[in-house]
């Protein structure tokens, strides 16, 4: 990537600019004015981001190109219209998020695709001990997966996030009347955090974490092939799974023909590595995850909401000492 300085801007820096302000603004406006009035305003804001965000436009065009190459489907090639469509899909996604927060997106409006019958396991988490890990993605609407908290009835869902604004988001969630969902800030895996997570799993609670964004600090990453090109993925979720020894599931929530579909599937039954095989084992999982992600991208090509430069070489790894 030639213009690495701009292109290489890390998502966590890039997001600081608009996302929090935007969510705050829209959360307020949604309470105040409702979706119908808010929709044109938000679309205007996103139009502004489209017009001023040259780099984001390029990044999305690159994603479309790679997706077209990888799938051999030429109709997926980027055009201004298709790239713009991606931004509009994001505006739509933000509006839906507010509906989710406000409890206006009901469970019966969401289709659950759960071939491995994971939902009953989620519901039974409370009685039968062990919780599980859900690895999510920024393809589609991560927030609709919050409906899972409702699916799980009384089972709390802990969402692990990298943002420093956890307290703020938790307050927003609280205001929105959300109680089963807890955000936990994870910047680095440390013993106290691991113990806390292990105890939550033992109580039957579930942990959700995104598998497609590399944290800025203290993050181990691994580069695997994604849509035909090497991209860095975080090791964190998989290290966590191996250390906590609990089943890992993938989830993804796509809007297909105006209706949300939650895909929920078992990924690893008993994550563990042999001595000396940790890195290789994790790389294998991440590669398999990237392949699954690529297939999901084809189901909803315009809902890839990673607007930063995704295909970057991994940052040089210093061994973060114990």
């Amino acid at each position: 990537m030639a213009e690495a300085s701009a292109a290489g801007r890390h998502w966590s820096l890039q997001r600081e600019r608009g996302s929090l302000l935007l969510m705050r603004l829209t959360a307020f406006a949604a309470r105040r004015f409702g979706r119908r009035l808010l929709s044109p305003v938000l679309h205007l804001i996103v139009l502004y981001f489209f017009l001023t965000g040259r780099q984001a436009r390029r990044n999305i065009a690159q994603y479309h190109d790679y997706l077209a190459d990888w799938s051999g489907r030429d109709e997926l090639r980027p055009t201004t219209g298709r790239v713009f469509g991606q931004f509009m899909a994001f505006a739509d996604c933000l509006l839906d998020r507010l509906d989710v927060w406000g409890g206006r997106l009901r469970l019966d409006q969401v289709q659950l695709l759960d071939p491995g019958s994971l939902r009953p396991q989620l519901v039974q988490g409370r009685q039968h001990g062990r919780g599980q890990i859900l690895v999510g993605t920024h393809l589609g609407n991560l927030d609709v997966c919050r409906a899972l908290a409702e699916l799980g009835e009384r089972v709390p869902l802990n969402v692990l996030v990298h943002t420093r604004h956890v307290a703020h988001f938790n307050r927003l969630l609280g205001e929105a009347g959300e109680q089963r969902l807890r955000l936990i800030q994870v910047s680095e895996l440390d013993p106290a955090l691991m113990l806390d997570l292990a105890q939550r799993l033992d109580r039957g609670e579930w942990l959700a974490i995104a598998g497609d964004r590399v944290p800025l600090h203290g993050g181990r990453s691994v580069a695997v092939d994604f849509l035909g090109h090497p991209a860095a993925f975080p090791q964190g979720p998989w290290l966590m799974a191996g250390l906590l020894r609990c089943p890992v599931n993938l989830m993804c929530c796509l809007k297909i023909d105006g209706r949300y579909q939650i895909h929920l599937e078992r990924f690893i039954d008993d994550p563990a590595w042999a001595r000396g095989q940790r890195d290789a084992t994790i790389e294998g999982w991440v590669q398999r995850y990237a392949e699954r992600l690529a297939q999901w991208c084809l189901l909803a090509p315009q809902q890839w909401f990673n607007f930063y430069a995704y295909w970057q070489p991994p940052a040089p790894q210093g061994e973060p000492d114990a």
Binding site: P191, A192, M194, A198, R275, R278, E319, P320, D321, A322
Partner: protein
């Protein structure tokens, strides 16, 4: 100075290290209390440390604070780990 014979707790911790990290080809006797666990010694790394910390916390019902600046020192050897566990347990009883 001769290496002192290891205590029961030290042996227990050496066994815990072996079980937790799948070091099947070792016995507690292969991990002398004063041998460094990381780097040049046993060759463990930071993820091993995390796995070990999790196992120790569960086994001995102690808690390792996330902002503990001395964590590195506690995890240096089996002997330092044993001393740390003892201190934590005493603190828990006292508290």
């Amino acid at each position: 100075m001769n290496a002192p014979a290891s205590t029961a707790l030290q042996q227990e911790i050496a066994q815990l290290i072996i079980d937790t990290l799948n070091l099947e080809d070792l016995t507690p006797a292969d991990i002398p209390p004063e041998q460094p666990l990381f780097g040049q010694g046993l060759g463990l790394d930071s993820v091993d440390a995390l796995e070990l910390a999790l196992a120790l916390q569960k086994r001995y019902a102690i808690r390792i604070a996330s902002d503990d600046k001395d964590a590195r020192r506690h995890f240096a050897t089996v002997a330092s780990l044993a001393a740390f566990v003892e201190t934590q347990q005493q603190a828990a009883c006292a508290g």
